[in-house]
Amino acid sequence: MPAPVITATSLTKKYKEFAAVDGISFEVAAGESFGLLGPNGAGKSTTMRMVGAVSTRTSGDLSVLGLDPNHFGPEIRSQLGVVPQADNLDQELRVRDNLIVYGRYFGIPLRQISKKADELLEFAQLSDRAKSKVDDLSGGMKRRLTIARALVNDPKILLLDEPTTGLDPQARHVLWDRLFRLKEQGTTLLLTTHYMDEAEQLCDRLVVVDKGTIMAEGSPAELIRTHSSREVLEVRFGSERNAVVAERIAGAGDRIEVLPDRILIYSANGEAELVKLTEAGLDPITSLVRRSSLEDVFLRLTGRSLIE
């Protein structure tokens, strides 16, 4: 494994008494695509801001590209690309000027950044909108422009904070495709998300974060293997009968979970569980056998109740 470009050890950020990030440790290798997965308020964005050298840690150690962000903010930031959760494009500038001006902030000469801006517009599929106002772009276009902007300085690490939140399915897929290309070119990606499909699409490895601490770590496949079964059988008996049936089938599969509207049976073989149910004379209104997903892992680790 190549040397890590990000190393966090017991990283902690406290606002007054509240610990937004509470002693998390992880390593990201060069060229790796690493995800921070967690519900809202889990401390993902705060972690990203510390890695991005725009927030100082309360305690613990952090090394980004071999430098300590507390002392080498500008040096680290000059080698990072940042895509924040909310777009902060320069609304007073046109699309292409957004890239040029941002590149100039990094001290890149005008001649060089002009060429780069055209390449990036093409990459972001925005070449025909070069002269548009930022306000006239769709949500997906703004996001792509933000990503293009994050690439003006040829960053060694790209930080993406919930890159596709709020986008429609088409826009998300276009964005994933662009990010996947960057990954193929060897850019290290650190991203946060609460979309499981996004994590499975983009992350080599991820940590599940909740309430500022790491709940689990591994590749998507490893996490599913460790924290869930291979398949899940979902059966519905109607809201009234679910609880009654659940008592009768206790012990089916590896584990069962009763939700208000359905029962989940975790098992290596979902079809076989379904056969057992019908043989026992229980015929569900609907049944579905599916592969276990990161969502199952996520919900198991972070709980199903709404955390605000």
């Binding site: 991005g52 725009v54 927030s55 100082t56 002392h71 080498f72 903010g73 500008p74 040096e75 930031r77 000059s78 990072l80 940042v82 924040p84 909310a86 902060n88 494009l89 320069d90 609304q91 007073e92 500038l93 046109r94 000027d97 001006v101 941002y102 100039r104 902030y105 990094f106 001290g107 890149i108 000469p109 060089q112 060429k115 780069k116 390449e119 990036l120 093409e122 990459f123 690439l151 300085n153 040829d154 290309r181 070119q185």
Partner: protein
Amino acid sequence: MTIAPTQPERVAPARSWFLGALYAGNARTVVSRGILATRSTNYLVVLSGFFEPIFYLVSLGFGLNALVGPVHTSTGQLVPYAAFIAPALLAVSAMNGAIYDSTWNVFFKMNYSKLYQGMLSTSLGPLDVALGEISLALLRGGAYAIGFMIVMQVLGLNLAWTAIFALPAVLLIAFGFGSLGMAVTSYLKTFQQMDWINFVLLPMFLFSATFYPITVYPAAIQWVVQALPLWHGVELVRGLTTGDLSVAMLGHVAYYLVMVIVGVIFTTTRLKALFLD
């Protein structure tokens, strides 16, 4: 397609032993961003601010001139009324330009457009942003003042050759107000608080020996007026345009230098606290 890395000309952020992570020596890119943004969006708004002091000059300077007659400056020189208020209005126009940019515009960028958040996630430091934005306010104040100087020259209100030095003087005044304006704005959170700025500026504009000599006030009030920045600007510029130089002018210059330094320090500290917490 792929994006070819264009490594060679990457400029490592400058690092000074003194300012460290606060300054990357790249404030000029913040200034050029501001000029580009002004050019593409709101130059008409910028233009409108220039006329306010001109209207005062025309209405009061010429309207009241007939009633008031010549006036004594602080050094005892007797000058026509229009030539008395014109340098004061020149200082005011520099102040206005700098204040517009460094208060309302900065307030919007700080709280709504997230511009500084974006800037500070690059290799820029808070001092780059502070200096860049204050310089922008200075440029606007300077532009207003130069326009006003031309009007004064045309109307024959520059009484001495030393008036040429009023140009660097108004730039210093704009720098002072821009820097203090941005520092104050960085502490304000709501529109209601922003209104306090006007509440302070209007009386300062009216009472800083702008339209009549400061000697009309009792001593106690004079001290208050002399503690405020505009009075120093008015006296400095008036001395230069009327050709009546005095040692006190060095004091006025020093007042503005302190104002610039305090403003820049507070703005930088505040930007750091807000965006690099």
